[in-house]
């Protein structure tokens, strides 16, 4: 599928690369023993090292290294057994050392791949360029005082994984799918909680445009967009802006821009006369980070089944479509829920109930799977009640509504409300005879060839039995009686 912006002079393609910063799940910071816990009083999750006091030195957190390797494995990427921490030097109020400890020439993880699940069920492969570890900066607050800014270093030094994609993304939709998948992967792995609106996952988008077939154009970086939806919007708006500039004969200036979602535009960040020169060099307080194959294997053993593998398994074992399987694996909790429902049951039927009915209800109530009033076990039981003909599919929907309200066991609901399906042939025949007797002309129409009227009769019989007759049986008995 190709996405083009129709300019006045012809079509333009967009080229997008995404840089995502993921806060690493760990107890303490990357180079200090201070807590990473969110929400504490200002400057309480701060050690002397984080405050960059004279003479302080960094010591690397083993778990952060493992989390980075784990994420690299989840991205099917090359793990670099030797990597180097480098200092990125610049001055800013939230950067106490006057440099950020990051990785430059030799990152801990090299090239990998993410497979995007597109809405139409197709997939697309996007390359990962690298993943490296670096320190997060502190927080500046500018609204506490007209003349001053306030600095809180609680976040300073928390471990981040910077994940850089290759410029393989070609549509805003693909960008959305990339972020969705990346988020799913890190959440599956437990290496980052992927919360864009809380800032534990942040995205910068590099956007450029070009005529089809031509080399890449100059790109602009859109920084710190805090939701997947806004990333998609920002890309589209920025690309359109660039096309307008180029078609008017202008040039794209390589710069950093901000996305303003209220105004629906991107804006150049206040640029300094002098460009940044980060003067990267290997941090002399830290030695090369080296680990062996055994270290990596230990981590590999801990890997859970990842979204792609789970999706393939659902398709294979449960006969699900790519789309359905994709929806289920988007969140591990959803997939786990589904597996309980599907266990020992018809996988497709389970998928329909989970996706259409359950997710539909949850979305409407704006509730996450973790807070679902209907437990997986109970939903499974509901499906069993349908499969063993205790209730019809139609009744099941009603039972489900009640389950959403009350969280009750479906067997209990069916019992209490007397919703059991009527399968007693005699009772059904009785109802059928009544309807036939009341509608002799319609019976004649069926005998004359209007098969469709059978459906009407079925409906009438269902109505007469309060919906509880087994529709399959009604159909069969009707046919027998009317058509002989």
């Amino acid at each position: 599928m190709s996405y083009v912006i129709e300019g006045s002079t012809g079509p333009w393609e967009i080229v997008v690369g995404l840089e995502v910063h993921c806060q690493v799940i760990s107890e303490s910071k990357l180079f200090s023993g201070a807590s990473t816990k969110f929400g504490n009083e200002p400057n309480t999750n701060v050690s002397l090292v984080d405050a960059a006091m004279p003479g302080m030195l960094p010591v690397v957190n083993a778990q952060c290294v493992r989390q980075a390797v784990k994420t690299g494995l989840g991205l099917k990427a090359k793990i670099n057994k030797e990597s180097v921490f480098a200092r990125k030097n610049y001055f800013y109020a939230d950067l106490p050392q006057g440099y950020q400890i990051s990785q430059f020439d030799k990152p801990i993880v090299g090239e990998g791949t993410i497979i995007l699940d597109m809405p139409d069920g197709s997939t697309k492969s996007v390359g990962i360029e690298r993943l490296h570890l670096e320190q997060d900066a502190g927080k500046s607050m500018h609204d506490q005082d007209p003349k001053y800014s306030h600095i809180d270093l609680n976040r300073s030094g928390v471990a981040l994984m910077e994940i850089v994609s290759m410029p393989d993304i070609r549509t805003p939709e693909e960008a959305g799918a990339y972020l969705t998948k990346l988020r799913a992967i890190v959440r599956y792995l437990g290496t980052c909680d992927g919360n864009m609106n809380e800032g534990s996952m942040r995205c910068d988008a590099n956007v450029s445009v070009r005529r089809p077939g031509e080399p890449f154009g100059t790109r602009c970086e859109i920084k710190n967009v805090n939701s997947i939806r806004f990333v998609m919007q920002a890309i589209e708006i920025e690309a359109k802006r660039q096309v307008e500039v180029l078609e008017a004969g202008g040039e794209i200036v390589q710069e950093t821009r901000l996305y303003d979602q209220r105004l629906g535009e991107t804006r150049s960040m206040r640029s300094k006369e002098m460009a940044h020169d980060y003067r990267y060099f290997p941090d002399p307080d830290l030695l090369p980070l080296v680990f062996d194959d055994a270290f990596i294997s230990e981590i590999e053993k801990e890997l859970p089944e990842l979204p792609d593998e789970k999706k393939a398994r659902f398709m294979r074992e449960n006969g699900l479509s790519a789309y359905d399987a994709g929806v289920l694996v988007a969140e591990k909790e959803k997939a786990d829920y589904y597996e309980i429902v599907a266990k020992g049951r018809d996988g497709k039927l389970a998928a329909n109930w989970v996706i259409t009915n359950l997710f539909g209800a949850l979305n409407k109530a704006e509730v996450g799977i973790a807070d679902s009033p209907v437990s997986a076990e109970n939903l499974g039981k509901l499906i069993d009640l349908i499969s063993n003909d205790t209730i019809s599919g139609r009744i099941a929907k009603d039972v489900f509504e009640i389950m959403i309200e009350t969280g009750d066991d479906p067997e209990k609901i069916v019992e209490e409300k007397g919703l059991k399906q009527i399968t007693d042939t005699g009772a059904i025949e009785g109802a059928i005879d009544e309807v036939i007797a009341a509608n002799p002309d319609k019976v004649q129409e069926i005998r004359d060839g209007k098969d469709r009227m059978l459906g009407w009769f079925v409906g009438q019989v269902m109505k007469a039995t309060g919906g509880k007759a087994n529709p399959g049986m009604v159909n069969k008995l009707l046919r027998d009686k009317i058509l002989g």
Binding site: G55, L57, V59, N89, Y92, G98, Y280
Partner: protein, 492 residues
């Protein structure tokens, strides 16, 4: 009673153990000496109350039979080591008034072992210099006087530490050495200075200058004293990732006095063009002494020696430019902020007002060599040459146990003599820098006097973590040289 300030660390240790005097008496004697020689400006901050408090506590500890390895011994601490609750300035205006809420690992260990702190010794600002003439708190002055009575530099950067020990204002002092900052002032002041192997002592809590070169070490009156003090400074520290996980040997036990059969290397490249005659002679005399003591003298070659200074003056400022970025007036130190100033204005004004000229110069040199476009040709290239220098030593140590060379190309010079000539100043470091670049232990001790009667030092460079050999050979050299001269600038 003997003049307690004339004792060595070892003598005082024994005297205290025998109960001949108390730590309080020892400390008071030194405090008096500090008062009498205040003109030397060896101390930035004197801590008399704290010293007496520590001395009293020490005497009490001793009475309970819990004496540590440095128990009750009064020392000066170079004002580059963060000392809890005591002003730590790095001899800079930008840290004036800064009181650390933490103690450096090295001073922690010394105090745990019972040492008493007399005060914070003067130094070149941020340890950048070899003359202690760049301190915001005034020059430190060498207790040795020039022939015409001129004030001489004590060397640097640990000039205050050296002056304090040489003038009997402390039994010993801590110093740091990045390119020669312990060894060269030791040589200029006629005392012993030891730069341990990189990683032997922790850098945690020491104001960082050049992270891959900085190393703390003892500055003392004798080689034995250096061995004693190093034992209380060294040791692995988990808070310093570059700290070596090596056990601390009994350094004092290494002073066997026996160096028969040991091989002493003489690097031919250290015999530089225009080397003063007296330095050459000093060296030859040293060689003879060691030969007489039964050692074998072997010529070695360190081919990349002449590139060491250039390498150092690219690598050290580069690291310093980054290490000193944290001094921005935001979280501690002096801040200059006027009405309407932006954050950048605050940075630029604070740092311009807070840093002295030499520090500013080195920061900017460092920024320059790391700049885009220059990294490969300057910094990265220098790091490769550094490896060559390291390899030179590794090769040489394939055939010898230690290397003997002069410490400095001259005796102490007059204050102001080399001012305005950074290149001449830089040449002070020419013999000491290579060992720093290679991370090797280096010991300087006085073995002779210049034609003007000023101390000259020789240094011994050892294999990584082989301070024991360096101390052993140093002890023998010290005995043989029998340097007994005292500074002319001291009364009594």
């Amino acid at each position: 009673m003997t003049d307690l300030t004339k004792l060595t660390l070892a003598e005082a240790r024994d005297g205290l153990a025998k109960g001949e005097y108390t730590s309080v008496e020892l400390t008071e004697a030194h405090l008096k000496s500090m008062e009498a020689h205040r003109n030397l400006n060896a101390y930035i901050t004197e801590t008399p109350e704290k010293a007496i408090e520590m001395a009293k506590a020490s005497d009490a500890k001793r009475a309970k039979g819990e004496a540590g390895k440095m128990e009750g011994l009064p020392i000066a601490v170079k004002d580059l080591f963060c000392t809890e609750g005591v002003q730590t300035t790095a001899a800079s205006h930008i840290l004036e008034g800064f009181k650390p809420e933490y103690e450096s690992t090295v001073t922690s260990k010394l105090f745990e072992n019972g040492a008493v702190m007399l005060g914070k010794a003067n130094l070149d600002e941020f340890a950048m210099g070899s003359s202690n003439t760049s301190s915001y708190y005034g020059n430190a002055i060498n207790p040795w006087k020039g022939k015409d009575g001129k004030d001489l530099v004590p060397g640097g950067s640990s000039g205050g530490s050296a002056a304090a020990v040489a003038a009997n204002m402390a039994l010993a002092a801590t110093g740091t050495d990045t390119g020669g900052s312990i060894r060269q002032p030791a040589s200029y002041c006629g005392i012993v200075g030891l730069k341990p192997t990189y990683g032997r002592c922790s850098r945690w809590g020491i104001v960082a200058f050049a992270s891959s070169l900085d190393q703390a070490g003892p500055m003392t009156k004798t080689v034995r004293d250096a061995a004693i003090m190093l034992g209380s400074m060294a040791g692995h520290d988990a808070k310093d990732s570059t700290s070596a996980p090596m056990a601390v040997p009994d350094f004092e036990a290494a002073l066997t006095g026996d160096i028969r059969g040991m091989k002493i290397g003489i690097p031919k490249e250290y015999r530089v063009d225009g080397m003063p005659e007296e330095i050459s002679k000093l060296w030859d005399d040293g060689v003879a002494m060691l030969r007489d003591a039964g050692a074998e003298v072997v010529d070695v070659t360190l081919p990349h020696t002449k590139y060491a200074l250039g390498t150092y003056y690219i690598v050290a400022p580069a690291e310093a430019s980054s290490n000193l970025a944290r001094y921005d007036g935001l979280r501690y130190g002096q801040r200059v902020m006027d009405e309407g100033d932006s954050l950048d204005d605050m940075y630029m004004k604070s740092r311009a007002a807070g840093f002295g000229k030499e520090v500013q110069r080195r920061i900017m040199i460092g920024t320059y060599v790391l700049s885009a476009g220059y990294y490969d040709a300057y910094y990265n290239k220098a790091l490769k040459v550094r490896r060559r220098i390291y390899e030179d030593f590794a090769n040489a140590f394939g055939t010898v146990d230690t290397i003997l060379a002069p410490t400095a190309p001259s005796a102490a010079f007059a204050i102001g003599e080399n001012e305005g000539d950074p290149v001449k100043m830089y040449l002070n470091d020419v013999f000491t820098v290579p060992a720093s670049l290679a991370g090797l232990p280096g010991l300087s001790l006085p073995t002779g006097l210049s034609s003007e009667g000023l101390p000259l030092g020789l240094q011994l460079i050892g294999k990584p973590f082989d301070e024991e050999t360096v101390l052993r050979v140093g002890g023998v050299l010290e005995s043989a040289a029998n340097f007994t001269a005292k500074p002319s600038g001291l009364e009594g």
